[in-house]
């Protein structure tokens, strides 16, 4: 029967403080840095998530900056003892608070108990059969998994479910939590951009003044303006066109560019273009760089 002892030796001596004896070269950094970055991102994320959950459970506020600083310092010091990096765990912290562990003593007790387990009771720990450990791990997995996310998978937006499934699949395939998180973050960013880059254009004809009003609704930026000019009709028999931007926001160069392009096209048909309802930030941007492209002869 395989036991915990077969996995490797349980060192029962206390570690000593020393600076790691590695060559301090760029090569070492190149090896360590990717892992360090991945560990930091995952560890920090989980710690902050844990802090938010514990804040909600105890109805208190925690200082997230202090939390990050503490974790960073502790992990650097741990490295000098030859230990592994660590972070707050959601499952354990929830159990801890549920059982009444509200103060600092509880985390100290957890550490001391682990030390006693290894140093004083090491002889017993190595005899634990792997089967028992596997059973515990399965129960931990069941307890940790957020089952309601499965129940809600058809209720939440499809993009959200996709992000979740892709993240989990990436973690399972690559065995690398950081890659999964990265894939999830990138995918959500893409979904966010595609969601936000829909501009709604409404047209209204004011017959008396031979004027047409286009109302734009949405965020105007590089990803959203590419087919904006196509949404206007340049062959209308009107004298003036008003572009109502009261429900829109101009974000960058490309937005101004697109508006200039539209203005140009209208002017080729001898139609005058006016803007209405610009919000202050957009107005500032338009004043700063608007008309530049026109002046340069596009």
């Amino acid at each position: 029967m395989r036991t915990v002892g077969d996995l490797g030796t349980l060192t029962q001596s206390l570690p000593v403080f020393m600076l790691p004896s590695i060559p301090l070269t760029f090569e070492t950094l190149a090896i360590i840095f990717p892992y360090a970055l991945a560990l930091t991102v995952v560890g920090q994320l989980e710690s902050l998530l844990t802090a938010s959950i514990i804040d909600d459970m105890t109805d208190t506020e925690s200082d997230k900056n202090k939390e990050c600083r503490g974790q960073g310092i502790a992990n650097i010091v741990t490295g000098c003892f030859g230990g592994m990096a660590g972070c707050a765990m959601i499952g354990q912290s929830v159990i801890n608070v549920k059982s009444g562990g509200n103060g600092r003593l509880s985390s100290l007790v957890a550490g001391v108990a682990l030390m006693i387990l290894i140093i004083a009771l090491g002889g017993i720990v190595v005899q634990i059969p792997m089967a028992a450990l596997a059973g515990v791990m399965i129960m931990v997995a069941i307890g940790t998994f957020d089952w309601s996310s499965l129940a809600n998978i058809h209720k939440v937006p499809k993009t959200d479910s996709t992000v979740m499934v892709v993240t989990v699949a990436t973690v399972v395939v690559t065995h690398d939590l950081a890659k999964g998180v990265l894939a999830g973050v990138i995918l959500s960013a893409i979904f966010f951009v595609s969601k936000i880059s829909k501009i709604h254009v409404e047209e209204k004809l004011v017959k008396v003044q031979q004027k047409k009003v286009y109302s734009l609704k949405g965020q105007l930026f590089f990803a959203s303006v590419s087919d904006l000019p196509k949404k206007f009709r340049y062959d209308d028999k009107v004298k003036e066109v008003e572009i109502d931007l009261s429900a829109a926001h101009l974000w960058d160069d490309s937005a101004i560019n697109a508006l200039d392009k539209i203005e140009n096209k209208f002017e080729q048909q001898d139609i005058k273009v006016t803007y209405a309802g610009l919000n202050p930030e957009s107005k500032q941007l338009l004043n700063k760089i608007g008309g530049l492209t026109k002046a340069s002869g596009h």
Partner: protein, 137 residues
């Protein structure tokens, strides 16, 4: 007729029925306290699914919307409290600390698995609260 009544609510139909009865039991100038208990796993799923603190509070408040509407309709003055911890003990602690004349609660709430055995929260409250407890079926 009671002056100060506590309704533990969890957004379920049972809690709503309890609130109706509580309104009936109340003196003209009496007040009602509505408490909603958030336990550890609820905290976890709320934070994981919603993230934003203000949004979480809003969503929790929405769960009590039908009770609030009922009390507003009947022009009863009420306060809403959010408690954290295990539902049973948290309600008992709050009730015993605040001297209510009566607790009115549903026989069971949203948790179907536990209520198959018994309405565990109402059972605990009925056993340990120092004031009369009315359990509404």
């Amino acid at each position: 007729m009671y002056q100060h009544v506590l309704i533990p609510a969890d957004g379920s139909e049972h809690a709503y029925r309890a609130a109706k009865h509580a309104a009936g039991l109340l003196k003209a100038e009496g007040t009602i306290d509505v408490v909603y208990v958030i336990d550890g796993s609820k905290s976890k799923t709320d934070v994981l699914h919603t993230g934003n603190k203000e949004l979480i509070t809003k969503k929790r408040r929405e769960k009590l919307k039908n009770i609030e509407e009922l009390l507003n309709q009947q022009q009863i003055s009420y306060h809403v409290h959010f408690l954290h911890g295990e539902p049973g003990p948290a309600i008992v602690k709050h009730a015993n600390a605040n001297n209510y004349d009566c607790i009115v609660m549903g026989s069971r709430g949203l948790n179907n698995l536990q209520s198959m055995v018994l309405g565990s929260v109402s059972h605990k409250v009925a056993k340990r609260a120092n004031c009369p407890v009315m359990i509404v079926k």
